[in-house]
Amino acid sequence: MNKIIKRDRMTVVWAVLLLTLTSGTPVVRGVTYDLVAGEFDTLMPDGVTVRMWGFGLSGQAVTVPGPVLTVPVGDHNLTINLTNNLPVPVSLVIPGLPSALTPVYHQAGDPYAGRVRSLTAEAAPGGGQRTYTWTDIRPGTFVYHSGTQMQIQIQMGLYGALKHDFAASQAYADPATAYQTDIVLLYSEVDPSVHAAVQSGEYGPSGTITSTVSYWPSYFLINGESYTPGQAPIPAGVVGQKVLLRFLNAGLRTHVPIIHNHIGKLISEDGNLLPFFRDQYEVMLAAGKTSDLLLTPAAAGPITVYDRKLDLTTGMESSGGMLVKLDVAPLQTQPGLWKKPIRNRLGRV
């Protein structure tokens, strides 16, 4: 997680540097990411190896989910240069962020001639490149994913999170959305039989698995990982400080994360600031949805976030799946720095 965020920041730095160096020539202002789509094998905690398709930053490993892309504060333009190393065409869309789309249809001679294959222009298989641009990026948390044959490509792993803050450490225009720490929690599932069929070329109209209609995932992932007991918790700042949990669902099913022992404030859905925040202990996270929840932990220690859909298994093993621990650090007790957080009896600021 942290590593990925760090990498993003480096990319941003490089992108800014590059823009500075090439000033004078007409360039698209804004952050640029060079993404690569590729395949790799991942080892699930129960020992099963699964073929995945994923995104990675150029020169780095391809991962599922892809890297967290950050559009810096004050920057409203985004360019993604996509290089496609997969054997099929892919493309990129970001639901919630409009851009000019040029759909791709199956061509004459193809048995599916006339049907839409991609929502927008494709990067050709085997190293093809395509540039996608967005202007007018608004604050929020968004899923980016393939816009090509999404019924198979998304569940193969071609997704990631994108975030853009209104101001430094403030998610939206409302000052009440300020936070000290933000955490991306991206939910997705894997049905290994579908992945095996794709890998062996048996997926499709003439294959052993003809579609994802009979989708029975058995791996339930948060940020690409199924929980294993003892897994290191995600640092969630200091007690009494605000943590912004960015929930994203890139899977095909609804999940309902519950914040054990806590109540949060739901501040946005699909990157839209809610006019009134809602006190909730759960987030109803439908497929494709994003929701931001502000949490102010009243006590130091671990916070468990578990899926109330109860997809808490890894293969057939229990105590896994969509569960994650956040770690809230105690207050620093150095004299002079100690600051008592203002909160009511429920721990809400």
Binding site: V256, H260, A298, L312
Partner: protein
């Protein structure tokens, strides 16, 4: 053959329900056990599906009583310090309880689990918290929950506000006359069979075939509370109200599926979600209240909604008042308020009933009633289309609705869920009965 006996049974159930109704507006209070200290146990037991099938469950129980599906409804008052001692009697793996919506729950005893402390057989674990926010809540096992919730380890908790027993929250708009619990769950028979026979199971292939309201399938939802032939499913789900009353629905998603619970008869107003008022800010009342006729209660969510019914906009007088029609009046009169204006011996004007929708007062029934010989009678038809009315029926017909109530089906709008192991009707379904005001 099976179908026939099922139908017979369904009829019997309706008969029983109808008879129960005579006893008045009973069931206006949600049954449960009162805290703030609860001694619960977790134990294996058996429930009956709506088709009569016995199914192994794991249930929470009140002390030494039998396991329940769902567990006992915990009734707590605001600001009480709630102590729940949970003893594992015979569940062959550690069990626990989590309380979504409660903040700062302290757990002691037993051993540390992934989410909270848990009790193996013979052990007791204690959970303590302050019931600081009134509302409707769920509790369920936090241990191996994909299996244990499936097996039945869940229940409801109601925190009553300081404002009074007739309020859901500390807000005047949360007033209700009657309240009912709608705890929704579902059951995958294969998993219960696998546990019963020590076979492997896979909860990720979850495919339920029974859907429950308060632990019962229709038509058992419409039986009385605590009927002796459903000893481990004590709670019914039989909403009853009179026109103009406020009926508080406490919806809880206790299973793994979302159930779009749908009311016929009227929309309801959602006043709270997750035990928190639909309010823009403290002190603003329920200003974010929304109207709906379905609420997609997702797993772990709770909603509170107030349902009202007055007969508004039916377009005809539901009491059968037929103003200015020189005919013998029908319905629940003549009464002392009836007037014979033109002295022809026929009452032709009547006073409004309590909570009657005024614009429809006196509007005639829009069709001519057919003759009895042209009708097939439902058991809930008592010979009159009017609320509280009654009419002549052929011998042996009707009779299940002696008060002349209006009956509306309330159910999951995922219609597949109106089955009991592939038999229709059943499942996540009950009826609302609108009772006439004539009752004492």
């Amino acid at each position: 053959m099976n179908n026939t006996s099922y139908k017979t049974r369904a009829l019997l159930v309706f008969l029983t329900a109808g008879l129960c109704l005579i006893s008045g507006n009973a069931g206006a209070e949600i049954p449960g056990i009162t805290g703030p200290t609860f001694n619960l146990s977790a134990r294996a037991d058996c429930i009956y599906g709506g088709d009569g099938l016995g199914i192994l469950i794991w249930g929470y129980a009140d002390g030494d009583n039998r396991g329940q599906y769902p567990g006992p409804t915990l009734l707590v008052a605001e600001d009480q310090t709630v102590v729940i001692n949970l003893t594992n009697i015979d569940i062959p793996e550690p069990v626990s309880i989590v309380f979504p919506g409660q903040v700062g729950v302290q757990a002691t005893g037993g051993a540390a689990g992934v989410i909270t402390r848990e009790a193996s057989i013979g052990e007791t674990v204690t959970y303590t918290f302050t019931a600081s926010e009134p509302g409707t809540y769920l509790y369920n096992s936090g241990s191996h929950a994909d299996l244990q919730v499936e097996m039945g380890l869940f229940g409801a908790m109601i925190i009553r506000p300081a404002m009074g027993q007739q309020y859901a929250y500390n807000d005047a708009q949360s007033y209700f006359d009657v309240e009912y619990l709608f705890l929704m769950s579902e059951l995958d028979l294969r998993i219960h069979d696998a546990i019963a026979f020590g076979q492997p199971y896979d909860t990720s292939t979850f495919f339920p075939v029974y859907w429950f309201l308060n632990g019962r399938n229709a038509p058992d939802t419409m039986e009385e509370n605590f009927v002796p032939w459903l000893p481990t499913q004590p709670y019914n789900c039989m909403p009853m109200m009179m026109p103009g009353q406020k009926l508080l629905c406490r919806f809880i998603g206790a299973g793994r599926q979302s159930h779009p619970f749908h009311t016929h008869g009227n929309h309801f107003a959602i006043i709270a979600r997750d035990g928190r008022l639909m309010s823009s800010a403290p002190g603003s009342g329920i200003d974010l209240m929304e109207k709906a006729f379905s609420v997609g209660t997702a797993p772990g969510q709770t909603y509170d909604a107030i349902f009202e019914w007055t007969g508004e906009k039916l377009g005809w007088d539901m009491y059968g008042h037929q103003q200015d029609r020189d005919e013998a009046p029908t319905g629940n009169f003549p009464g002392p308020e009836d007037i014979d204006h033109d002295g022809d011996g026929v009452f032709d004007e009547v006073m409004m009933e309590m909570h009657e929708y005024e614009p429809d007062h006196g509007k005639p029934f829009p069709v001519d009633l057919p003759q009895n010989q042209d009708l097939t009678f439902g058991e809930m038809y008592n010979g009159s289309p009017f609320l509280g009315g009654e009419g002549l029926l052929p011998p042996g017909q009707g009779g299940f609705n002696p008060m002349g109530a209006f009956v509306y089906m309330w159910h999951s709008h995922t219609e597949k869920e109106l089955t009991n192991n592939d038999i229709f009707p059943g499942g996540l379904m009950t009826h609302l009965m609108i009772m006439p005001h004539m009752m004492p």
